[in-house]
């Protein structure tokens, strides 16, 4: 009897745990292992494009020839830009060949950094800052508004392939919190941009998305018309005149 009750209780608790959002939140967009799929398998050939081959050479020239592996991160970044914002396993293998290390050494790096996406992302990958200052200033509402407007879950791509929403840690813009970043992969590695949109509101973020959808370029930086960069709203309230020089002892006295 007791045992049955215990089992029931256990099942209830488990149910609750299963329903609650993922307890350990993984920031990267994929699992720690690779699953073959039609667009992501080691057999699909992958190469740096003709234009990027020159950039590969340039990146490699920054490092001594016996430390080629130092170029892993910039090369993975280039590969990701070329491949529409994400890294299939064959792209990682291609990088491994360029820097002459075993593929597993590349996988280790790519799985470590959350900025390397190992599953498909949208042409515009929207990254909402979720760290404390932004969170206090309402980043959760921003994300909610985004997800609701696009009709997707986090790390999911919209049907038209244009947008996906991810989360990032502090991007150093806390003074203009909350903020989002838009990684624009729509123009390949040549026209790749990575822009910050700061001081956003749930309403403004939807407008930004719609402007991007129409192919317009929303103004980057703070979205608060009353602010200039990270200055205070409505202009300076202090330090209005030339600052007084610090008092100095009269040395001759």
């Amino acid at each position: 009897m007791c045992a049955r009750l215990a089992t029931k209780r256990f099942l209830e608790i488990r149910q609750i745990l299963l329903q609650s959002p993922q307890p350990s939140r993984s920031l990267s967009t994929a699992l720690n292992y690779h699953i073959d799929s039609p667009d992501n398998s080691p057999d699909t050939p992958w190469e740096f494009s003709a234009g990027n081959k020159g950039r590969v050479k340039e990146i490699l020239s920054h490092y001594p020839s016996n430390y080629k592996q130092s170029a892993i991160i910039p090369l993975l970044d280039l590969a990701q830009q070329q491949h529409g914002g994400w890294l299939p396993v064959s792209a990682m293998n291609a990088v491994a060949k360029v820097v002459q290390v075993a593929p597993i050494r590349i996988y280790e790096v790519a799985t470590f950094y959350s900025m390397f996406n190992r599953t498909k992302v949208g042409k515009y990958h929207l990254l909402v800052c979720g760290t404390t200052p932004c969170m206090i200033r309402g980043s959760r509402e921003i994300e909610e508004a985004l997800l609701k407007h696009l009709g997707v879950k986090r790390n999911e791509v919209t049907k038209d392939g244009l947008f996906s929403v991810g989360e990032m840690e502090c991007m150093g813009c806390c003074v203009n919190a909350p903020m989002i970043t838009v990684a624009d992969y729509s123009k390949g590695s040549e026209g790749y941009t990575y822009n910050y949109y700061e001081d956003i509101t749930p309403k403004r973020v939807v407008e930004i998305v719609e402007m991007l959808r129409r192919g317009e370029a929303p103004p980057v930086g703070t979205q608060n018309p009353k602010r200039i960069r990270s200055g205070p709203e409505g202009g300076n309230t202090t330090l209005l005149s030339e600052p007084k020089p610090p008092p100095c002892r009269d040395l001759d006295a």
Binding site: S26, N32, Y33, H34, P42, Y107, T111, F112
Partner: protein, 532 residues
């Protein structure tokens, strides 16, 4: 759920000792995991060692995991016989069963590792065992008989044939005691056609330096250039290969290889495939010569697979001239090495198991196979009487007329000499199966029935006999280096054939009767070798 604490010892082992870059640390923070990212096996012949180095037991031995508790096991410190290295092992047994095999530390031989074959072959000890003496009846089926009857029949046939028609072959797993008993028995019967498989015709048993790993396994670490001639250490002797790998990592030793295409887990130049390349090096026409000449301690490793070739004498004389050219053999450094394939080889040559005639099998009427499963029996006359003494129903049993069951290495006390000339002893870990007996005891009993009684009837007796022939075999755990290395051989006039070297071992996981009976080894070869 895993116990892994992300210490990355297995990752480091894989890349630094085993030399395969398969494992890695994936993800980060609380999501960190050890893995291969893409789905694949760890393709190393040393992979089992990650079980030993895992500090928390997250990596376990698949055949052993959860089969027994540590405190139920009896450990027996003994020697591995699946290759010629003689890795030091501990056999953990429970009752009649071998439960697992783990390495013992021996810095000079296997360090703290063993190969997967050594570790996982033990399930072969439980399958295909011969447990009763058997005689093949007129209908071609085996019938169990008593020891008395079996020995009587064998002795009767042996006494009927002419002495020179008696042939004995020792198998690759034979210990020194049984080999000396076999040789003594055959000699007393008037025959001197006894040899150990793998040594080829007319083996060089006169100079120990002609068949030993002269610079010793640990001594290989001093070498700075390796020339591998017809040997693939990775599959022939993984522990020697691990040593070469260690040397290559530590001091960037250069490795040149002559032989069929094969996998190496370190940087290795493939110089060619056959004797022609060897000749080019000997004549100084090959680019590798400059490396050889510049080396301080050059090491040449010749594979024992070459012993089976027809032109082996001329190959060896070319190797000798390369050694002279590169100043490989000096008073302070002997870098001319032979890498043997089987556990029995070194001791058999020490004991002088050299057949009198080259093709005695073709005229044999009475063939005594002591665990020999890889002898070519096609030439054997169809009316020859074959006795198979061994522990597994393997290849030779199909041709045998009488089967005498013997005990396996895990069940007897025996002396083995490894490829560098270090003799070591096995100890019985489990009792033998059925009615099986130790090899030398069977021969001793047979000699009595045949009326040529051997003068020893216990281990110390047979060992004092060994001390007369090869006293070094009794200095256990001591490496007895070859004393003289002089080129006494006359220059060989034999023609060098152009036929490329072939690989001596096709399937690393199945090289002898025990490993061929093992299910785990069969699975390993199916999943790991098929991809090539």
């Amino acid at each position: 759920m895993t116990r892994c604490i992300q210490c990355t010892r297995c990752v480091r082992f894989a890349s630094e000792v085993a030399g395969v870059q398969d494992l890695g640390m994936l993800g980060r923070g609380s999501g960190e995991e050890i893995g291969t990212y893409v789905e694949k096996l760890m393709t190393s012949e040393l992979s089992g060692n990650v079980i030993d180095i895992c500090p928390v037991g997250a990596l376990t031995s698949k055949p052993f995991a959860f089969k027994a508790r540590n405190w139920e096991l009896k450990g027996t410190e003994t020697i591995d016989v699946t290759d010629a290295v003689g890795s030091n092992i501990r056999i953990d047994s429970r009752g009649l069963e071998v439960m697992r095999i783990i390495p013992r530390l021996n810095e000079d031989i296997n360090e703290e590792w063993i190969s997967d074959k050594t570790r996982f072959c033990y399930d072969g000890l439980k399958r295909q065992r011969l447990n009763d003496p058997m005689i093949r009846g007129p209908d071609g089926r085996f019938k169990s008989v008593s020891w008395r009857d079996a020995l009587a029949i064998v002795a009767e046939v042996a006494l009927q044939v002419k002495p020179e028609e008696i042939v004995g072959v020792a198998g690759r797993l034979s210990d020194a005691e049984s080999m000396i008993a076999l040789k003594d028995f055959l000699n007393r019967m008037g025959s001197n056609n006894v040899w150990c498989e793998g040594n080829g015709v007319r083996p060089n048993a006169d100079l120990r330096s002609g068949y030993l790993l002269n610079s010793s396994i640990s001594g290989l670490e001093k070498a700075d250039v390796f020339l591998l001639v017809g040997t693939q250490p990775r599959i022939e002797a993984p522990m020697v290969n691990a040593r070469i790998h260690k040397t290559v990592r530590a001091n960037h030793a250069e490795v040149g290889y002559i032989g069929p295409p094969t996998d190496f887990n370190y940087n290795c130049k493939n110089l060619g495939t056959g004797p022609q390349t060897l000749l080019e090096i000997a004549e100084g026409r090959h680019p590798f010569c400059s490396a050889l000449l510049a080396a301080k301690n050059p090491a040449i490793i010749v594979g024992a697979g070459l012993f089976e070739r027809k032109d082996k004498d001329s190959i060896l004389s070319v190797v000798n001239s390369i050694a002279k050219l590169g100043n490989v053999v000096r008073p302070d450094w002997n870098g001319l090495n032979f890498l043997l394939l089987h556990a029995a080889q070194a001791a058999s040559l020490d004991l002088g198991l050299v057949p009198e005639s080259d093709n005695s099998i073709e005229s044999a009427k009475f063939l005594y196979l002591m665990g020999a499963d890889d002898v070519e029996l096609d030439e054997l006359p169809s009316d020859a009487f074959v006795v198979y003494q061994g522990h597994h129903g393997d290849r030779s049993v199909y041709r045998a007329n009488v089967i005498l069951p013997a005990s396996a290495f895990s069940e007897k006390e025996g002396t083995y000499e490894n490829t560098e000339g270090c003799s070591q002893q096995t100890l019985p870990a489990v009792p033998t199966v059925g009615d099986a007996r130790d090899d030398w005891k069977i021969i001793r009993a047979l000699s009595e029935v045949a009326g040529v009684c051997l003068p020893y009837d216990n281990l110390s007796g047979i060992r004092s006999r060994i001390s007369v022939v090869a006293p070094n075999l009794l200095r256990v755990d001591e490496r007895e280096p070859a004393l003289i290395h002089t080129d006494l051989k006359p220059d060989c006039q034999q023609k060098l054939s152009t036929e490329p070297f072939s690989s001596a071992v096709d399937n690393f996981y199945m090289t002898d009767s025990i490993t061929r009976a093992s299910k785990i080894m069969a699975q390993c070869s199916a999943s790991l070798l098929s991809k090539k």
